[in-house]
């Protein structure tokens, strides 16, 4: 073997480090809190044909989107309308390659070296508002995509270096927070430029041939390792059923069907038989489902290695069109993330018993997003507070479940600090703590869910939210017990309480409280095997109550 191997390794590492530089640019310059705090975005580098070379993810929901959105771009800009140097594409079409929901905007930049297209830099980020019926562009009661905001069907926001001012003006005229939206757009374009500049430098240093060879080897490497890991998993056919509890209109539950076939060559995930696409916005696009399948595959094969095109060569998705997990136009889709989590939950629940040392019991299974909009009581400016909430994770074969973590759909997401939230949105936070609503008992205890309670100080405000997992608790594994539920309540000034799970635009008045509740994760292993000192420690720390311990841990009752 020649020393070129090291050159190749170095080019591959450089690509990853370029991805990191792009990622950092967006985090530092974007204007939407959901980007810079929730890190609800991803960046990617593909080769000239759209094959993924490197990506940086803040969340896992875009795992498959980076390469698929570039592939779709190539489809749409063929020989009759080719991409040119200086072009930048903007796209948010949900149903085709790389699509999720309209709020996630992809920016795609072809990279040219001496006139030849050698790469793409791409990113996709969740802008707080993209127009449509409701602030935050999310509604649980939309029935058509048109209610969910502006649609950019793969158009040039820059053409040969020139900004498309017509599109900018349209954008400004159709969103609620134009300043922040434009800030996010420029942040996305800048990140791609940063990546493109570094890729050109890399090619100048090592030459195009070495660069291309390194890219090929990198993908081959991704493929080799993931295949090796796949072959350690027992072959077989595994079937399971899950559900979407609600379509936003109170109908449901709707079944999700899954058959996983594992062989030495492939892991095939077949969702045939899942319910047809729903009337409300709890639908998932094929790209979203592809991401769920790839993420599940990655978690049991190569969780810590960088992902590239090769990593996913041996995982296949089968699903007919127009189902709840492969929706098409004009299905509403803004709450796709709840369906995404239902899909990944079903995948992991099916795989868990096959590789029990690699996967935990069920976690709280919802992004638990709420949107609150209103007029800031001090600045009189309009605000949209969009946030996800952390909750309890399932226990696993090695440790208790985590407390205070965001869902599987997240990653490097950050919560919104009370101190910045109160300034920005004019609410006042009263409680941010673990609860002990029970559940998750096992040799390893599921992580506690959480309360977040805040008081509205605006004259009036509107609450939208979608918390699935309100009627089906988190599941236990290997005789571990199930956990608890997600839901939220509005506590009126007169003390009356209203409980919600999927709802749009509940009117709130000054002094009303909103209390968000996330579930406790499932337990792992038989509760009889939990050591006494751990139960006592949980009691001392208030993670479980005395009554819960006596009822669910026989050792305590004896002692």
């Amino acid at each position: 073997m020649s020393l070129n191997k090291f050159t190749s390794d170095i080019i591959q590492d450089s690509l990853i480090s370029i991805g990191e530089a792009m990622f950092e640019t967006i985090q530092r310059t974007s204007m939407s809190p959901i980007i810079y705090e929730a890190l609800d975005y991803a960046v990617g580098i593909t080769d000239g044909e759209g094959r993924l070379l490197a990506q940086g993810n803040g969340v896992i929901t875009f795992l498959a989107a980076m390469s698929l959105v570039v592939e779709e771009t190539l489809e749409r800009f063929g020989e009759d309308n080719p991409l040119k140097e200086g072009d930048v594409i903007i796209a948010n079409t949900p149903y085709v390659g790389g699509g999720t929901h309209l709020s996630d905007i992809a920016i795609i930049t072809p990279v040219f070296y001496k006139g030849e297209r050698v790469a793409f830099t791409v990113n996709k980020a969740h802008w707080t508002d993209i127009g449509g019926t409701n602030p935050g562009s999310v509604s649980t009661v939309s029935t058509e995509i048109y209610q969910e905001g502006l649609h950019f069907p793969f158009i040039k926001i820059k053409e040969e270096g020139k900004l498309n001012h017509a599109v900018i003006k349209m954008l400004e005229g159709n969103v609620r927070l134009p300043k922040s939206t434009l800030g996010d757009l420029f942040s996305g374009i800048a990140a791609n430029d940063v990546g493109a500049g570094r890729i050109i430098k890399l090619i100048e240093k090592y030459g195009l041939d070495a660069y291309t060879q390194a890219a090929e080897e990198f993908m081959e490497y991704g493929e080799r390792i993931s295949l090796k890991e796949l072959q350690k998993i027992p072959n077989g056919v595994y079937e399971n059923t899950g559900c979407i509890e609600n379509d936003g209109f109170g109908n449901g539950p709707f079944p999700l069907k899954l058959k996983i076939i594992i062989s030495n060559e492939n892991m095939i995930c077949d969702f045939t038989g899942s319910h047809e696409q729903l009337k409300g916005p709890l639908n998932l696009s094929r790209t979203g489902l592809e991401t769920a399948v790839r993420a599940a595959f990655k978690s049991i094969t190569t969780p810590t290695l960088p992902a590239n095109n090769g990593s996913f060569k041996h995982v296949k998705l089968i699903c007919p069109d127009n189902t709840v997990v492969s929706a098409n136009s004009p299905a509403p889709i803004s709450v796709y993330y709840e369906v995404f989590l239902a899909a990944i939950d079903l995948l992991l629940k099916t795989l868990g018993p096959i590789v029990p040392e690699k996967l935990p019991a069920g976690h709280f299974r919802s992004v638990c997003v709420t949107y609150i909009s209103g007029i800031h009581p001090v600045t009189n400016e309009f605000y949209v507070q969009a946030e996800a909430l952390s909750g309890g994770w399932g226990a696993c074969a090695f440790h208790d479940g985590n407390r205070g973590q965001f869902s599987y759909a997240h990653g490097e997401s950050h919560n919104i600090p009370a101190e910045t939230r109160e300034r920005k949105y004019g609410v006042i936070v009263e409680e941010y703590s673990f609860h002990n609503e029970g559940g998750g008992y096992g040799e390893f205890q599921g992580g506690n869910g959480q309360y977040l309670t805040f008081k509205i100080l605006s004259e009036e405000a509107f609450l939208t939210g979608a918390f699935l997992g309100y009627s089906i608790p988190t599941w236990g594994l290997n005789e571990g017990k199930e956990g608890s539920y997600n839901y939220f309540t509005v506590i009126r000034t007169d003390g009356t309480e209203e409980t919600y799970n999927v709802v749009t635009n509940v009117k709130l008045n000054k002094g009303d409280r909103v209390k968000l509740v996330t579930a406790t994760g499932g337990g792992y292993g038989n509760p009889e095997n939990r050591p006494l000192e751990k139960i006592l420690s949980d009691l001392k720390n208030g993670f479980i109550t005395k009554e819960q311990a006596l009822e669910n841990y026989p050792k305590i009752a004896k002692a």
Binding site: A190, W393, Y432
Partner: protein, 686 residues
């Protein structure tokens, strides 16, 4: 005479300067090294003093850098700590930010917090973001709470209340109450640690400072007593993470400021060196046994950040600490870093290190792994008679054995593997160097690379070439550079305060008032150390952002008396564009943080020029041997003794310059000169 000591992972260094009272030029430098004595670090220092029979009666200035704080944290050996928060917020410490960098590992395990839940208690009180009291502080349950803590053997209490960065009144009341009634327990409040917003970060910082407070206090008291017994009469100065020194009393109040004490002083040494030789734009790289650290210095000023995070990795969120730290990027890539192949057959170097024991395989002490140092030995870049300061002969049998699995797996000779290891290690370091330069909008071509630490001089020329940095400086005494930096350091305190407002001319008087309040605080703090108001010099910075952004960019204000809106606006727009490739010129600018630097310039020696005695280059020649320069090929190369080289000499590569603590590699097509301060400066021949 001035003395500085620096405690490292393996060795405790002492550097001793004598200097001419009149022109302040250094006339004599002595170095003493002794093993670090974990657990009782002050012993190691005393050993270095005894080793060279130093009479402390004659010492006017004693400075000290220590790892006692960071070690207590990483080894989880701090005090049992309790936390008091605003009602409803005791779990903030454990929820943290909910982050999971390990995206695809669903068996992820979140690190346990430093205070268990049963020791996290709450008080009824509330202040809003405007600093107004919404609910007055209710102290009725405090007595019971503290008694419970004591019954649980708590030694230290952290207090962090919401919006205390804006209005610390409740924290002050609560802190005073507990201190008065329970003088034996350590108490620290969040506003004493940081006046920045974000409750988790501030709580974490306060908890960590409380966690190390008893151990740091005990250590500093012991050290002060021991030095006094040995005859030292003046103040003991401690190196902080912000690149300045301060008094022991100041540090004891908030010991978390020592978190990066050691690395900061090395970076500061480079600043002083740069000023001396007229180079103010530097990239500094310090390669030790386990890690490489780098920072960027612009216009003679290191960047200070307060977003420091310990134990942050690609899989863990780590623990944030809001304290002023020189902006250092650290990677697990040092001389002892182990080369290995991952599951896909890709060569990796680090972050696992062979450490000092057993050390690299070439030490022959049972190290079975092939490391970067071993690769340099195979390429013959380290003279075998000078290996490890001449204390050891490299064990080639052991090296070969360590390399064998790599050779077999890769189907390569040991020489090829060695070149590969150095290439991969260099690439790791290049990426770290880019993250402090290119990624932040700086062009490395405008900088000079300063390499320090045992490993720096071996890699410097290659890294500079890759980044197109024109010159590499290997300073004199590169091996004890941290201690050197401390001797050259001034007293420094950083005050940072979140006070969000629009940046506009109407707010200039408020702006000046905020800075004035901070200045008063600084002057008062220095007064306690017996410095006068007139001794204190100030620098003013603002953390600014466009309205709607979350992250800010630090801008230095040149003059507070003559603020001009258009000038500041333009400076910020330019800075933003430089760092992030765009500016939003018609968007409102917001002030997030005020940052005041208050320095007292102390009497310091100056680095003296070395006088050339007209020696010949040939006199410094040790031997001529084949050295493998990777892409430049294998060449017969001159090995020189650094001590015998003197100013005005210019020597062409290929060459290796040898000194006890390191080797400087000068590849073909490069040359080096010895400057008038006896630094080595390498450049590429055009």
């Amino acid at each position: 005479m001035r003395v500085a000591t620096d405690i490292g992972g393996t060795f405790t260094d002492l550097v001793f300067f004598e200097y001419d009272k009149k022109n302040k030029e250094v006339t004599n430098v002595k170095v003493s090294k002794s093993s670090t004595t974990p657990g009782e670090y002050e012993k190691g220092i005393l050993n270095t003093i005894k080793k060279i029979d130093l009479d402390l009666n004659t010492i006017e200035f004693f400075a000290h850098g220590t790892t006692v704080v960071i070690n207590a944290i990483t080894e989880r050996k701090g005090a049992k700590t309790a936390l008091i928060t605003t009602e409803g917020f005791r779990d903030v410490l454990e929820i943290a930010r909910g982050t999971r960098p390990d995206l695809y590992n669903f068996n992820f395990k979140k690190e346990a917090p430093f205070v268990a839940r049963y020791l996290r208690h709450e008080v009824k009180e509330r202040i809003n973001y405007l600093g107004e009291i919404i609910t007055p502080l209710d102290t009725r349950n405090v007595d019971e709470m503290v008694k419970y803590f004591i019954s649980e053997n708590v030694e230290s209490i952290a207090i962090c209340l919401l919006h205390a960065y804006k209005n610390p009144i409740h924290e002050k009341q609560l802190g005073e109450l507990i201190k008065q009634n329970y003088p034996n327990i350590e108490v620290i409040t969040s506003h004493e640690v940081s006046r920045e917003w974000r409750e988790y970060e501030r709580t974490s910082s306060t908890v960590l400072s409380a966690y190390v407070k008893p151990i740091a206090t005990k250590y500093l008291n012991n050290l002060t007593d021991n030095l006094r017994k040995l005859g030292y009469k003046n103040n003991l100065y401690i190196m902080q993470s912000n690149g300045g020194i301060t008094t022991v009393e100041d540090v004891k109040a908030n010991p978390i400021t020592l978190i990066e004490s050691g690395p900061a002083s090395g970076m500061l040494g480079a600043v002083v060196l740069g000023r001396t030789i007229g180079k103010e734009n530097l990239i500094v790289l310090d390669i030790g046994g386990t890690t490489a650290k780098c920072t960027l210095i612009e216009n003679g000023t290191p960047k200070i950040v307060t977003t420091y995070n310990i134990e942050k990795t690609k899989t863990q969120a780590g623990f944030p600490i809001l304290t002023p730290v020189i902006d250092i990027v650290e990677i697990g890539n040092g001389g002892g870093s182990i080369a290995w192949l991952d599951d896909g057959g890709k060569m990796r170097v680090g972050p696992k290190s062979a450490g000092a024991n057993p050390g690299p395989s070439s030490y022959g002490k049972g190290g079975i792994n092939f490391t970067t140092t071993d690769a340099n030995v195979v390429c013959n870049r380290i003279h075998k008679d000078y290996f490890l300061g001449g204390e050891l002969i490299p064990d080639f049998k052991s090296i070969e054995k360590a390399a064998r699995p790599l050779c077999k797996e890769l189907d390569m000779t040991i020489e090829e593997v060695a070149r590969g290891v150095i290439r991969v290690a260099n690439s790791n370091m290049v990426n770290a160097l880019k993250s402090v330069s290119v990624n932040k909008g700086y062009d490395p071509r405008d900088f000079t690379l300063v390499v320090i630490g045992g490993g720096g001089p071996m890699h410097g020329a290659y890294l500079a070439e890759e980044l197109q940095i024109p010159e590499v400086i290997i300073p004199l005494n590169a091996g004890v550079f941290s201690a050197f930096g401390m001797l050259m350091s001034d007293l420094r305190r950083d005050y940072i305060r979140t006070d969000v407002m629009d940046l506009n001319a109407d707010n200039f008087s408020t702006l000046k008032n905020v800075f004035q309040e901070m200045k008063d605080e600084a002057v008062e703090a220095y007064r306690r150390d017996l410095y006068e108001k007139e001794d204190v010099a100030f620098e003013y910075y603002l953390d600014l952002r466009y309205d709607g952004q979350e992250h800010s960019v630090k801008l230095k204000l040149t003059d507070l008396s003559n603020l001009q809106m258009d000038f500041i606006e333009k400076a910020f727009n330019d800075l933003h564009k430089k760092r992030y490739a765009f500016s939003l010129t018609d968007t409102k600018i917001e002030i997030v943080n005020y940052h005041l630097v208050a320095e007292v310039i102390v009497n310091k020696p100056v680095i003296a020029k070395v006088i050339a005695k007209g020696k010949n280059v040939e006199d410094a020649l040790i031997s001529i041997e084949n050295v493998d320069f990777d892409v430049y090929g294998i060449h017969k190369s001159n090995f020189y003794d650094r001590e015998k080289l003197e100013p005005e000499m210019t020597i062409q590569g290929p060459a290796i310059v040898v000194e006890p603590s390191t080797s400087t590699v000068v590849p073909p097509k490069h040359q080096f000169i010895i400057d008038e301060y006896a630094n080595i400066i390498i450049s590429k021949i055009k």
